[in-house]
Symmetry: C2
Subunit: 115 residues, 2 copies
DNA sequence: ACGAACGGTAAGCTACGACTTACCGAGCAC
DNA sequence: GTGCTCGGTAAGTCGTAGCTTACCGTTCGT
């Protein structure tokens, strides 16, 4: 369960409107209509965005009467953050070797993949 | 100087090809042609993606003769990660209050709107 | 029961982004 | 110098993401 395809997560956050929705939901849970009131788009558009965010595991929804309350899913956000952490630390590790290499060395050697 | 518009960063990572480029660069710095060899797109396409990534502050470039080596910019990655951290912690903080105090200001429905 | 509120879905339009080929300038080797 | 490699840019095509309006089912209040 909860194997969030992080790929979908990045795609979901790639849209500024969806980031606005995420920011709204970070403050407090909201119903669809509430979100639509605070955003310059129609309610169906919000609904479509929420569907994408839900499939990406970034939000969860909960029906209450006719209302449907969406809230941020911290686990989904944490998954993306962890992936960024991986990129970050991996880059630092792998670059440490070549960091001091002035080089560009380029070494004239026909084989160099670095710098 | 680190005034990376994080908004551009999200947009940049919203494209799967650009994420592939970032993953490639996390391993080691690469020239444009090298990246194009490992990706199923043409070299000009890679060049255009690198431009977006560079403007987002996620990569830096460095000319070496006719080659132009791109490398991941840890600061840009960290900026995005920090923003995710903010979302994450803010959601946790705000939801904790709400979880124990069901009363919503706008709506007096005293029942479970949450979880 | 009826009607209103809430929200998800369908259909359609439009705009933008990702890719291509073609072209250009800049460095290095000879 | 000439020629070759590398890479950025221009111009153009095409797919798709995001938005709209219209419609429908569900749920609650009366």
């Amino acid at each position: 369960m909860a194997t969030y395809q992080s790929d979908d997560g990045w795609n979901a956050l790639g849209d500024p409107t969806r980031r606005a929705i995420v920011a709204c939901l970070a403050e407090r849970p909201r119903a669809v209509g509430e979100l639509a009131d605070e955003l310059p788009i129609s309610r169906p558009a919000v609904s479509q965005h929420l569907k994408v965010l839900k499939e990406a595991g970034l939000v969860t929804d909960h029906a209450t009467g006719t209302r449907r309350v969406y809230r941020l899913n911290p686990a989904g956000v944490a998954a993306l953050r962890d992936q960024l952490d991986t990129f970050w630390s991996r880059a630092l590790d792998n670059y440490r070797d070549v960091a001091e290499q002035p080089a560009e060395s380029a070494n004239e050697s026909p084989n160099e993949e670095f710098q």
